[in-house]
């Protein structure tokens, strides 16, 4: 029960302008956590997520949480335990909304 998959019924897209703004901020060392760069949409429920959330979402392709965390550590300059905690909380929320599933 460790492999995480996006629910194929969830539609999603990255917002080009917002993503460019976030990437520019990231390069300048700004806090970009408040910039929504992607939107997930399913059955009337919508979720807007920031760059980190979007990267986690994209990595929900059958990997486990440790693989996701390892991949993100290469992309983001963040303390590992804090990242793992944030990723777990985000995945829990996605699970609750039915946006991801766990499989063997």
């Amino acid at each position: 029960m460790h492999n995480i998959h996006r629910n194929p019924n969830v539609m999603w897209r990255e917002e080009v302008d917002a993503l460019a703004e976030a990437q520019a901020g990231l390069e300048c060392g700004d806090d970009i956590g408040d910039i929504g760069t992607a939107v997930l949409f399913s059955g009337g429920a919508m979720l807007s997520i920031n760059v980190l959330g979007a990267e986690i979402w994209k990595l929900c392709d059958g990997r486990g949480i440790e693989e996701i965390v390892a991949e993100l550590l290469e992309q983001f300059d963040v303390e590992e335990e804090l990242l793992r905690s944030d990723v777990q909380a985000f995945l829990d929320d996605l699970t609750k909304k039915g946006f991801i599933t766990y499989a063997e």
Partner: protein, 338 residues
């Protein structure tokens, strides 16, 4: 990791690809709409434009979309562009073979309009004998073909006290979702308003019952799209949009390509064949006003205004001429929601 976001394009398009219809529904919003239709090649180019703009899904309607001679080809093309394709139909033409064909054409979901669990009531309302039986059969054919189904019921005087019966009907026919739509007062809905619409107090009673059913039912998703249910503290917490979704998540395209905020607001803000969709979405004054409504009248001071934003914009506009007016269905008074 959850944030507010300004969408750069609609998530979904409701697309009335034709206005021809084999029914004569008493609340039809499009009976008097243009019958001009985009030529096939123009329509395909418009679908490409919509997909390129970032739209995720298109929901075909009309009219009865199955009367469009190229519906299957259009759906297949749209699906091939990566768009999630769905449709609202009266179900008359959906037999077993058609359901399989729709699945092959890329339809992932089909909504069937059913106004009552009682065949005689539905048939009388839709003006076609036998329409209830064929709509009910369509639900079964679609489910068997592997297409998600929903039932669309416009709440009005013929069905407002039949919540439990409608839920039972939906469960019996394996519908995945039961949509209780508010009555919009557009087209024939406006002409027949006095006969069909409910009073604000009756709306309150209906929504209390519908919300109770929604909380109770675990098998079927009961969907309520009316912003004024915020008065009952019941807006979907998963929704990030306050008030109407029209012009915030979705747009409507008419058979001639005209773009309107929703199918019930007859204000043209562009044309998909001529204009850039993202530009219309970003720059339309009408959409700007819908996204930034101002409380007027009894909405001023109402503790629920930030949630419901004055309720359904289409209804306010149709009945008062001002989209900022309080939704005429609202039962609140003197700034008090209940």
């Amino acid at each position: 990791m959850q944030n507010e976001i300004v969408l750069e394009a609609p998530l979904t398009i409701n697309w009335a690809i034709n206005n021809s219809c084999n029914f004569a529904c008493r609340h039809c919003y499009s009976r008097n709409d243009t019958h001009d239709e985009l030529p096939r090649d123009v329509l395909f180019a418009c679908l490409e434009k919509v997909a390129k703009a970032g739209v995720l899904s298109v929901n075909f309607g009309g009219g009865e979309p199955l009367l469009h001679p190229h519906l299957l080809e259009i759906a297949s093309f749209a699906s091939g562009l990566g768009l999630r394709v769905s449709m609202n139909s009266n179900g008359w033409l959906v037999d077993e073979q058609m359901a399989v064909t729709l699945k092959k054409a890329g339809f992932t979901k089909v909504g069937i309009s059913i106004d009552s669990h009682l065949p005689a009531v539905h048939d009388g309302f839709r003006g076609v004998a036998g329409s209830h039986a064929r709509a009910a059969a369509a639900l079964g054919h679609l489910a068997s073909a592997g297409i998600l189904t929903s039932i669309s019921t416009v709440i009005c005087r013929i069905n407002n006290d039949a919540i439990e019966e409608l839920v039972t009907f939906a469960l019996e026919h394996r519908a995945g979702q039961l949509n209780f739509h508010n009555f919009k007062c557009s087209g024939l809905g406006l002409a027949n308003k006095d006969e069909l619409d409910l009073s604000p107090e009756e709306w309150k009673i209906f929504y209390r019952g519908a919300l109770s059913a929604k909380q109770r039912e675990k098998v079927i998703d009961i969907s309520l799209d009316d912003p004024i249910i915020a008065l009952l503290g019941a807006r979907d917490t998963a929704s990030m949009v306050k008030g109407s979704v029209c012009g915030k998540l979705s747009l409507n395209i008419k058979s001639n390509g005209d773009i309107t905020p929703c199918g019930f607001i007859p204000v043209v803000i562009g044309n998909i064949a001529r204009d850039d969709l993202r530009q219309v979405w970003r720059d339309s004054d009408v959409l700007d006003r819908m996204r930034n409504k101002k409380p007027t009248g009894k909405c001023s001071g109402c503790s629920k205004y930030e949630e419901c934003l004055g309720g359904c914009t289409a209804r306010a506009l149709a009945l008062t001429g001002d989209m900022n007016s309080p939704d005429p269905h609202c039962w609140g008074s003197d700034g008090k929601p209940l």
